[in-house]
Amino acid sequence: MNAALARAAGWWTILCIALEERLVYRGDFALGTLMRFLPIVTQIFLWWAIFDTIGHGTRDSANIVGYSFSNMVAYYLLTMVSRAFSSMPGLASGIALQIRSGEIKKYLIQPIGMLEFLLLSRLAHKLAYYSVAVLPFLLVFSICRGYFVDGWPAWDLLAGYVAALLMSFLLGFFLEASIGLIGFWFLEVSSLLFIYMLFNFFLSGHMFPLDMLPAPWDRLVSMLPLKYLAYYPAAIFLGKVPREELIGELWIEAGWVVFFIVTARVAYRLGVRRYSGYGG
Amino acid sequence: MATIEIEKLSKSYWVYQKQEGLRASLRGLFRREYREVRAVREVDLTVEQGEFVAFLGPNGAGKTTTLKLLSGVISPSSGTARVMGHVPWQRENAYRRRFALVMGQKNQLWWDLPAQESFRLHQQIYRVDGQRFQQTLDELTRLLGVTNLLHQPVRELSLGERMKMELIAALLHSPDVLFLDEPTIGLDVVAQHAIQQFLKYYQQKRRITILLTSHYMKDVSALCKRVVIIADGRLHYDGSLSGIVDRFSGHKVVTLHLAEGQAFEQLARFGTLLEIEPPKAKLRVARRQVPSVMAALLSAYTVDDVAVEDPPLEDVIAEVFSRVDDVAVDHDVRQAVFP
């Protein structure tokens, strides 16, 4: 009981430190977040031109795989929200670096595992990030609220959306952590990571709605876990996921989360064994 | 015409005074507070061709700033300087081809490549013709004993080996003037010695003009006949190394070996007691009083042995620096201390 309490206290401290650290630079932060919406501007104009073309001057009547122009813009804005949950900047490369520099040793002697520690500090970072980023996000979304033509989704979809977002955080974390842990076996993780980011960028739906993929790619990509990182929550919000499939899909996402939790833990255990075997 | 002529050279710059804390940094966005740092103040100096001059001074005294001014890397606030007839901060290529700067704490060689490749680049930039380049390179690597390291990436070299390579890079275009800023910093005794020997030999053979800053008295005493003391941006001394003691130390150290059974307690009457380690005692005595104190001592004690010496050079210099710090606030006081 006491041990659990002490552990909780330790976690609380980690959380507080990360929060403070973030809040010091909040000015920089808010501006940086706002800047991150800039690439969407060019995307909007690209789609604007395309919808103008296929709608023959009346872009409101046109649609691409069920997305109207407003839907498309709303989609890009929503993927920004998904990414705010699922992206883990510096996580994999940080783990790989700690392995290479031998800093990993400190987790072997501390009473807290590396994955737990990193998860907590990431959680704290994210919380701090949201507390600052909420302002620019609100600003952009209120300017663009006209694009959300269907308003808020029904409560059950909204609940599914929140669940998908929260799971996307866990999925993003353990997926990237697993990649970082490859560093135990392979030194050049950074280039590998770049390739992963590339796939992530295109196949998570960050670049375009995954519904646009032609067969057989659509089926292939929908079987990958990457879609939960950006596309899936946005699709729920926009009502693109049929109600009857929602629960089932969320279970599959949960399955992927569990899969990567197990993968990361196993990889960590094997890696540490290999590491101490060599006497690092 | 002297090789280096400096007149009333001054350099001051403004440093942004960063405030601690979030509120203060926000305020700093709108109103910043600056502090003026006067790194070099009205320095006059003339160096003749073929001289090897050492700059001594505490950290932040203005030595490096002076070298940077003479290299033309920065421009002065006021005053003039001419090196081989050129104004350094006009950065004419004709001037830049004729000198070199080596900084012990920075490196200019490509980190991941063998030094040889960086040397080739220098050859291209300085337009040294192939045959001469090879000759110079052979000679330098032989003198410094690094011929077999030329093809090893710089990052794999030891600090000492890297410094030797930096020196070679600086000398490939046969500069007439060489500025060395702490060239032996952080090196072990062997590497230090090797670099000293090399510099000594090379300077004597080529008769080039060298300005050196260093913290190691060994460097200075091994290489330079002429020493310049800079502290707090000002020039305080310009002369021979041994002259420093005459100039700044009004004391001698008297070491006594007293015969057995003598009491040490009363020794303090004769001067400042530095240490007592029976049967030995060290006294600091004002230079002018040495004869009278000696006479008194010899009549009061039975002395087995006695020696009268100048205080160690390093102590004198440390004392000079600390005095400068004490009076740094007031210009007039300093003038009184250093007439």
Partner: protein, 285 residues
């Protein structure tokens, strides 16, 4: 010693050679970088293939059909890869040189400082994107010149002009980049340099007509006349793909403007560089 100027060409070749030696020392990394940039280009093509499944053109009556746009895309890659190969690493290093004070050594050399700062290193692996660009360009042009309706005809004159404007585009991007990098002398740090660069050049990635609607017009004006990144890719791509064949005169005005923009950008960046250097030289200790 004779007062000889260094041969800038030979110094540049030595830079290129040294960089190549360095790149080959880290072979795995080099290879992985090539693979990832090849992957990036493939995915880009994939994306636009999907887009063109849903639309015949980008923008009504704009003339930017699939293969015209692929000429545009290839041009973007060519210019970006050249900028990355020659300047990206150097701009990065420049802020580092300022931070560490190693810029001192650059200032000592009897050679133009901006030249030395701009060309010191080359990132050879970025040339894989260049290769991909050439391949895509050839395929797209093949399709355009052999299509049954209105086949495109390309004269050597056009190819020459295309290459010339490619260089202009690189020069404009270079000017922007070196100016951004120079600001780190004043700002002291430059983590946002990459971001800024990415966000600004992002606007150059599409045909300029797409901004010609709604609130895009001020953006179009800003990125054409103030920070002329829109002409970088648009002018050479337009010359070759000729999406606006009937209104050629407009294209020629644009071409003249692009030339002017290049010259002004280069001069402006030179000025910014010199000014920044001046404050480096009076500020550092």
């Amino acid at each position: 010693m004779a007062q000889r100027r260094p041969s800038y060409l030979r110094v540049f070749l030595t830079f290129a050679r040294n960089s190549l030696v360095r790149d080959t020392m880290f072979r795995t990394n080099f290879l992985l970088q090539c693979i990832s940039s090849a992957g990036w280009t493939l995915m880009n093509v994939g994306f636009y293939l999907i887009v063109f499944q849903h639309t015949p053109l980008i923008g009504p009556e704009s003339g930017w059909g699939k293969y015209e746009f692929f000429v545009f895309l290839a041009t973007t890659w060519l210019i970006n890869s050249l900028v990355q190969t020659f300047f990206m690493t150097n701009a990065d290093d420049y802020s580092e040189l300022i931070r560490t004070g190693n810029l001192d050594f650059v200032l000592l050399k009897p050679i133009d400082t901006q030249f030395l700062v701009s060309f010191q290193k080359m990132d050879w692996s970025s040339l894989s994107t260049f290769t991909a660009g050439v391949i895509l360009l050839v395929v797209a042009l093949w399709q355009l010149t052999t299509r049954p309706v209105h086949p495109l005809s390309i004269s050597p004159w056009m190819v020459g002009l295309y290459l010339f404007y490619l260089c202009c585009g690189v020069a404009i991007f270079y000017s922007l980049m070196i100016s951004l990098a120079s600001t780190s002398i004043w700002l002291g740090r430059n983590q946002t340099l990459y971001d800024f660069w990415f966000y600004i050049t992002n606007f150059a990635r599409y045909p300029m007509e797409i901004y010609n609607r709604g609130w895009g017009v001020p953006l179009w004006g800003f990125f054409t006349f103030v920070v002329p990144v829109l002409v970088v890719v648009n002018v050479p791509a337009r010359l070759l793909a000729q999406p606006l064949h009937p209104q050629r005169s407009l294209s020629w005005q644009l071409a003249c403007f692009a030339l002017l923009a290049t010259i002004v950008s280069l001069l402006a960046s030179r000025w910014v560089f010199q000014r920044a250097l001046l404050s480096y030289r009076s500020a550092s200790s």
